[in-house]
């Protein structure tokens, strides 16, 4: 990435690619919320950043002024990509979304819990002889990539390819306009092959087969939309979830008391997961301002973007008590990590299940894990925040165990 001009004033020149933002966006968001609740930058062709819960909510509820046809901050001319229902606006949105909802209900995703648990245990078993690992690459990323591949009927061993595509599409594309057309062309070719395979063997129960047969308003989807939605499932399901699992691991690796409590009271894990989602909500997503309006009295210009930081909303002290503290047994938690309104993350039930199973299995195997002292954590840049390198010391017994014993220990 080319060096960028450092931020001179966060209120009028904020930059989500600034190293200070990447390291700790929360402090910057808190300060903006107090001093300038709708910040602006001329970077990325003009972006407004509301930081109060109520204002973020208002934008999410107003697709008439804030369209989803453009969602990501990018320098230069933005590419037009379609990935229904994410990029859809009313009135088309309703039918696009209804098409994709059934495979993502709580009951539908519960069918994948056994495979999720098996993936976690396979990854943990590979660490049996190790005393350290990278919690991001060796665990969090593997769970999300393998389960998504499993659900789509793709090879679970394509993780490295998926990670490259995602990194190029989500991060590289912010400053390199050649990334999107390249990734889309490669993915189109890949999906064309997968569709052809299923044409020979129809009736599969994977998500690609589901989309091939899907109807929107009674009509089959166009080839562009089918592939756009496949891309959405592949990308949307992977880096968000691995980021959330990774942030949860990072928190537990750096907060002994919370880690010990969850080890002792695993029934609290679902409540703790909600709190990790609140405090470390990974997603920021944009809206294109298609009609001039205002946010909290601040006029906003047509053609620019509004950036929704769900973490900013979740850390608003007017809505959450002790908003800047992680309280793993927080009983009232109306957080908006999965967005609000008609674009609520369609994979939220799936992500919650994956996070719960991932943390349950990890804590059972490594109840004493910590962040490796002196090693550095590397965070992603851009719209999805999570650790990309998370050096962990596993804290197992010092005696190396033979694999068979280690496997029993994991499953006991």
């Amino acid at each position: 990435m080319k060096p960028r001009a450092p931020v001179t004033d966060w209120e009028t020149d904020f930059d989500v690619l600034d190293p200070r933002w990447i390291e700790d966006p929360f402090r910057i968001l808190d300060q903006l919320r107090r001093q300038c609740p709708v910040a602006h930058t001329d970077r990325f062709s003009g972006v407004y950043l509301p930081t109060r819960y109520q204002d973020i909510r208002a934008v999410a509820y107003d697709p008439e002024h804030f369209s989803s046809r453009r969602l990501f901050l990018r320098e230069g001319k933005p590419p037009v990509t379609r990935a229904p229902p994410l990029t859809s606006d009313p009135p088309a949105h309703y039918a696009d979304r209804k098409m994709l909802l059934p495979p993502f209900t709580p009951a539908a995703v519960a069918k994948y819990e056994a495979r999720t648990r098996a993936i976690c245990r396979e990854r943990i078993e590979l660490l049996a002889d190790k005393s350290t690992c990278d919690g991001a690459c060796d665990y969090a990323q593997e769970i999300a990539t393998r389960l998504t591949a499993h659900m789509m009927g793709l090879s679970e061993d394509m993780g490295d390819q998926f990670r490259t595509w995602i990194h190029d599409f989500v991060e590289v594309s912010m400053t390199d306009s050649t990334a999107i057309p390249r990734v889309i062309a490669e993915l189109d070719e890949f999906f064309t092959g997968e569709i052809a395979k299923r044409g020979l063997l129809p009736g599969g129960d994977d998500l690609i087969s589901y989309l091939m047969d899907a109807r929107v308003d009674g009509k089959p989807m166009s080839d562009v939309d089918v592939k756009g939605t496949m891309r959405l499932i592949l990308f949307g399901g992977i880096d968000t979830t691995w980021s959330s699992i990774g942030s949860s691991l990072w928190h537990l690796a750096t907060h002994d008391e919370d880690r010990r409590r969850l080890v002792a009271e695993p029934q609290l894990i679902p409540t703790a997961i909600e709190e990790f989602l609140r405090a470390y909500a990974p997603v920021m997503i944009g809206r294109e301002i298609v009609k001039a309006t205002e946010i909290a009295g601040c006029p906003v210009k047509e053609g620019e973007m509004a950036l929704l930081s769900f973490a900013a909303a979740n850390r608003d002290p007017d809505v959450f008590t002790d908003a800047d503290r992680v309280v793993i047994d927080r009983a009232e938690n109306r957080h908006v990590a999965f967005g609000l309104g008609i674009h609520r993350c369609i994979g939220s039930n799936l992500a919650r299940m994956e996070m719960r199973v991932a943390i349950e299995e990890w804590l059972r195997a490594f109840p004493n894990f910590v962040l490796t002292p002196g090693a550095s954590v590397e965070w992603s840049a851009g719209g999805v925040r999570g650790p990309r390198q998370l050096p962990l010391t596993l804290g197992k017994a010092r005696m190396p165990k033979p694999p068979s014993t280690a496997f029993r220990a994991v499953n006991s």
């Binding site: 909802l101 059934p102 209900t105 709580p106 909600e274 009232e332 999965f338 609000l340 609520r344 039930n349």
Partner: protein
């Protein structure tokens, strides 16, 4: 024998519900999820006294403010 002094009733405002499914996760005795993921109260929505707390917790965790609770017919 306990005779509850109030009748508590839960209702999901379907125009607001976006399928976060928090209510059914926190109070599965009171809420159910349909085939596209939206929530509704089970049966007539009347809450047994031992589930009053769960009803309020479910409401307090709905990101869309889609859960209404009434006490003896009045908004609670």
């Amino acid at each position: 024998m306990d005779i509850p002094l109030v009748t508590l009733r839960v209702r999901v405002n379907r125009a607001r519900c976006q399928g976060h499914a928090r209510c059914a996760a926190l109070a599965p005795e009171l809420f159910e999820i349909d085939s596209v993921g939206d929530a509704s109260a089970i049966g007539d929505g009347v809450v047994p006294p031992q589930l009053f707390d769960k009803a309020y917790i479910a409401r307090a965790n709905c990101p869309e403010f889609a859960i209404d609770i009434s006490e003896n017919g009045d908004q609670a």
